[in-house]
Symmetry: C2
Subunit: 144 residues, 2 copies
């Protein structure tokens, strides 16, 4: 989660909404790390989570992410949560809850549907205060 936090801070420094992610493989080895690049890449799907899941599958030569853990500073949105199903991700550990844009514990609750083909384990609220403060500081600066 330290790496995800560092990626979130780096994203803020680039003028991006500060969300960061890290993905660890079997044995805890770091496979990928990324921050939000929506503005820089002009790609509304360039969320940190999408980037690390894609990079990790590439690292693993096409293998799915069953033994892997995604660490991310914010509750994943419905797009990233549903992608985690396609990537067969083992576990998600996220920081702040996102009542507005989240898709795991809020909104469409992507993993809660009976037809959902694969559900990662989910642990939410890890270092929640710190992760939330990053976002609040960013939006406070934008408005100032």
């Amino acid at each position: 989660m330290d790496i995800a936090m560092a990626e979130a801070r780096a994203a803020a420094g680039r003028g991006e909404v500060p969300v960061g992610a890290a993905l660890s493989g079997p044995g805890g080895v770091l496979l990928a790390r990324a921050g939000n690049r929506v503005e820089e890449w002009r790609d509304p799907s360039a969320h940190a989570e999408m980037q690390v899941m894609r990079a990790a599958v590439h690292q693993l030569g096409g293998e799915r992410l069953g033994g892997c853990v995604l660490y991310v500073t914010l509750e994943p949105c419905p797009m990233c949560a549903a992608a985690a199903t396609h990537f067969r991700l083992g576990r998600i550990v996220f920081g702040a809850y996102d009542p507005k844009g989240g898709g795991v514990e809020h909104g469409p609750r992507v993993f809660s549907h009976p037809r959902c083909l694969h559900r990662p384990e989910v642990v939410g609220g890890v270092r929640e205060r710190e992760a939330g403060a990053l976002l609040r500081d960013f939006f406070r600066h934008l408005r100032a």
Copy 2:
């Protein structure tokens, strides 16, 4: 939809699940076309819809897809539906309904939640029989 169907058939020829998409911009001009590339790219997120939305934003120099129409042969999954929200897509026209993996009219019904920030217009079941036959033929051959 003709182009989406052609892309779906081409995907089947590459051994991919046959789903194809096309994206038209204001005035009906074709901005992007793609078929599923999950196997070829070893990227579980390389759905036809994700590819054409990304390519179209690129074509438009970073502009979102408000005046655009996504044609796709199958009901989008929750990942692609939620991505359409991020891309601010104007309209989705899809072929076959997907009770197992769909995320628009089935499962998490991504656009039906009050917190959903942007809802494209949706027209489903267009040339449904033809689009469904493509998928059925593909899976029949796989099992044969």
